[in-house]
């Protein structure tokens, strides 16, 4: 298969970038998108050029490292997969493929197609955890968890933090990511203790980092490689309103924010 690639090239965070055209030929339909890019990079290296930098790690669709905004869609045209699980058979021979980095103020470009997603780490550091004192390991099943709640928590916890939700959102909002993180902890008994504090801190951190506001277009749900539902955003909104309106000793929480 032959393709024309239009790729965003940007030397570093401060350099001015632009779309550059490349041709790749004799690509196997069974090769992955990254193997195709590897082929291009090999060609660029051999001809003394600068290879295209892009993020990848496990190439198994579970680590959340890969990104790429392909033909107007994060992770490309196939629903429910990450870019590393995308294969060239999903394109037509002779296609022109546009490849861009995630675009958001909170995700600045490092080089070419690599963006800095540490904004997500900062949100998790703000309160996306449960505090557990060290000590003996409690027996399994001593804390009862209803099956449907553990299922819903697990569905939310499948978020790999890739940032496709932000990339797809017309407002560059991170609500699906935080909705998933808030939900997966709020649904379980271990997450209850810090629930009110957690949601307020995480939302405050999200606002501070310059993500947009949700306008419920649901592009995030459509593009999430893990199929995380926007009902998690509604749950976060409930958690947030509950925390703001009904939590005891609001002042203490305010102080710790």
């Amino acid at each position: 298969m032959n393709f024309t690639l239009k790729i965003w090239r940007q030397k570093n965070a401060t350099a001015k970038g632009q779309m550059v055209s490349y041709n790749v030929s004799e690509i196997s339909p069974d090769s992955s998108f990254f193997e195709m890019l590897d082929t291009l990079n090999q060609k660029l290296i051999m001809s003394g050029g600068d290879p295209v930098s892009f993020d990848h790690d496990c190439r198994e669709g579970i680590c959340g490292t890969c990104s790429l905004y392909i033909n107007g869609r994060p992770h490309g045209p196939v629903k429910g997969v990450t870019t590393c699980q995308l294969h060239m058979r999903s394109f037509k021979d002779g296609d022109t493929i546009h490849i861009e980095p995630w675009r958001a103020r909170a995700f600045p470009i490092i080089s070419d197609l690599i963006v800095d997603r540490s904004a997500f780490d900062k949100i998790i550091q703000a309160a996306g955890y449960v505090s557990v004192n060290t000590g003996g390991v409690p027996d399994a099943n001593t804390i009862p968890v209803p099956k449907e709640k553990s299922d819903a928590a697990f569905d939310a916890a499948t978020c790999i933090g890739c940032g496709a939700c932000v990339a797809a959102c017309s407002n560059a909002a991170a609500m699906l990511f935080i909705g998933a993180k808030v939900s997966h902890l709020a649904l379980l008994p271990q997450g209850q203790v810090e629930a009110a504090k957690r949601v307020q801190k995480m939302v405050a951190c999200m606002d501070e980092l310059g993500f947009g506001n949700c306008s419920n277009t649901y592009a995030c749900e459509a593009e999430c490689p893990k199929g995380i539902s926007v009902s998690n955003i509604a749950r976060m909104n409930r958690e947030f309103l509950g925390a703001k309106l009904f939590t005891e000793k609001e002042k203490i929480i305010q102080d710790s924010l």
Partner: protein
């Protein structure tokens, strides 16, 4: 206002918006009385009631506050959303979303322009800021309406405005529910269906009036 968190802003916007949605239903009910063939007696009576009743007068203030809140927060979040992506994609987004959900700010502006015209045409005349057209008393909404709708151009603009409002509402109603956290597999499909049906009712209901007056009067 700037210091409110994104969710607080959205919730206030949703509450104001859902209040405005209920008000539209009342307004449509009164407007449809224009179709009653009694020389505007029933419509004028209803308009007089809305203009003089003390409880309605209190709600008028709530209504204006609702408009103000919804519009100001709408502008604020739209600018913040624009700032959240300073560099646009070279290849436009082609995710599977409902097309008009991305244009709430644009449809909102068109509805706002109509609202300003509507205020100049009616409310400002009623309170005496704008002089009524010759031969029509400042409280005579019936003949004022007939005069406006006698212009096909005004009628067309009116119908377009309500079409745009219908598009705005089609996304707005279910979106308001989602923002308030009322999303459940049990009723979300019903909310979406009723929201769409309601937006069609509003767009068609208001548009029927100028069409009827142009064709049959």
């Amino acid at each position: 206002m700037l210091l409110y968190s994104s969710i607080t802003k959205k919730v206030l916007m949703a509450l104001a918006g859902l209040f405005l949605v209920t008000f539209l239903c009342v307004h449509l009910g009164i407007n449809l009385m224009l179709l009653n063939d009694d020389g505007g007696r029933m419509f004028t009576e209803a308009a007089t009631f809305m203009g003089t009743n003390q409880i309605i007068k209190v709600f008028e203030i709530v209504l204006f506050a609702g408009f103000l809140l919804h519009i100001l927060f709408g502008i604020l979040v739209s600018f913040q959303n624009k700032a959240a992506r300073p560099t646009a994609y070279a290849c436009g987004n082609s995710s599977e979303t409902s097309f008009f959900s991305k244009y709430m700010f644009h449809t909102g502006i068109i509805v706002f322009i109509f609202l300003v015209l509507h205020f100049i045409d009616f409310y400002f005349i009623k309170i005496g800021v704008v002089a009524p057209p010759p031969g029509i008393a400042s409280h005579d909404f019936y003949h004022r309406t007939l005069l406006l709708f006698s212009s096909p151009l005004y009628s067309l603009l009116y119908i377009i405005s309500f079409l745009v409002l219908g598009i705005h509402l089609n996304h707005a109603i279910q979106s308001g529910f989602q923002t308030l956290g009322w999303n459940h597999s049990k009723y979300m499909d019903a909310v979406k269906f009723i929201g769409s049906a309601y937006s069609i009712l509003i767009a068609v209901g208001f548009s029927v009036i100028p069409v009827y007056l142009l064709l049959f009067k």
